[in-house]
Amino acid sequence: MSGETYGDRGNKDRSITNPAGMGDAWPVKPGGAAHAAPGGPFLIGDAMTGGYGKGADILHGCTIAVERGEIAVIVGPNGAGKSTAMKAVFGMLDLRSGSVRLDGEDITALSPQDRVKRGMGFVPQVRNIFPSMTVEENLEMGAFIRKDDFRDTMEQVYTLFPILRDKRRQAAGELSGGQRQQVAVGRALMTRPKVLMLDEPTAGVSPIVMDELFDRILEVARTGIPILMVEQNARQALEIADKGYVLVQGGNAFTGTGQELLADPDVRRSFLGG
């Protein structure tokens, strides 16, 4: 409907069109069911192949997994499909083959909302907060699917990120980059997820803030939540990782524990700058 033929003409007139906040995800159609698939890792995207909508495939048989109590990190060069692999696990693009399994269930056919209900928490790389809503409203929206009282969870998030408590009446869009990332992670934690997926949580923040964010992420991991994370700062990320995946052109290039990958001469030469 919005192919090249029509370009973007007329879409820049803000008095009639409002693309701000518009979604670009291609979610799996709702209505699919999960079925039991016992065994295997806690969360695994197995041999995933697919791309956005009717576009070309971006992933080619890519596999990523995370076990209970672990931190798994996806690294790789720009355009390797790291974020795409993460979105595929979350059901935000169409898989042509492969499957996604969580906690002994095959959830390939589930929509992202249903995956949230089954305990997946996802923090996108960009646009991961509701900018015009207050910090507290952001957290409330994170808990949208919960029907029970979530005040204690909000309290836990405030304990984990004390700055958010001070800023809870402020619009999230007015906060600094690092604080926004904390809002984003806090929002995802509000569902009390069984697994947390972070897409480049340190993108665009200063090195000092980055160190602090890594500390916070480790703290979240210490509460027992397995974390699957895409990261640009490969070396730092692999140092805290139990398991690392190096993706190249939508496929697995190297897989191993964080220490193994850091020690691997090929990985060092290609991705870690020697």
Binding site: M1, R14, S15, D24, Q113, E137
Partner: protein, 336 residues
Amino acid sequence: MDFLNAFVALANFVIVPALAYGSQLALGALGVTLIYAILRFSNFAHGDTMAWGTMCAVLATWGLQAAGVSLGPLPTALLAIPVGIAGAAVLVLATDRVVYRFYRAQKAKPVILVIVSMGIMFVYNGLTRFIIGPDDQNFADGERFLISARDFKVMTGLDEGLAIKTTQALTMVVALITVALLFWFLNRTRTGKSMRAYSDNEDLALLSGINPERVVTVTWLIVAALATIAGVLYGLDKSFKPFTYFQLLLPIFAAAIVGGIGNPLGAIAGGFVIAFSEVGITYAWKKVLGYMMPESLEPDGLVQLLSTDYKFAVSFVILVIVLLFRPTGLFKGQTI
């Protein structure tokens, strides 16, 4: 005394009518702004949605009047508003299901939806005329004046009278209640917050478990209610004629854009800015100036800047000025 007379004349011919008209425009502009914030396009079919909802209410009013139901001094149409809202809700939800949902699934660009809404506008237009005809319909009943000009003169002993029509007072009261309810809903309820979240960031709303289709449905329901209430109030105040409602689109859009489209506070402020400009510029100021100025300076002409026939030009000019000098409107940042 002259000053008081001038003020009463001004209130009678400008302030009261403009407040009522402004409230009607504000309700209309709120509907446009909600669609803009959540469905992300300017809904050109809004004027005709108002016409359709009002038509349903008019038909129900006639039914009630025929059955002998009356609200005493208040217009019977108040009782018919829920019927009108239900009629409008059925129409917009059916349209959404048959037309808009198709384009949403295609992830069509907003400008395409703008054009689609124009097509919908013509369909609604035809539907309304097909059922009730293109003519003027009067459906107001009950007490005509809250205070008539004569009573006011007797009461105060002034030369000038101040008439307040029941419908004008009613318009302001109903508009106030509606706006208060809308703001409470958007800022305090879970569904209202989920609508704001969806407006802010669709993808994140999706992965917070907010059901987009539900948000869209609720939005259409609210818009149907706002459009019908605005339409019925306007019809009571003036009269119901489908073409007039189609024409209302211009001042409504001007109001929404002047205030900052997507911002509900802006829609309300914009509604009053447009209403006061329109009424003020088409009013013959001779009387007010006659009271205020020394005899030697009293104007000979009517001092009417623009004939009422050209009142739509006023919204157009304001629209152009705002788009040129402050395209974001009075209230910056589009957020519901």
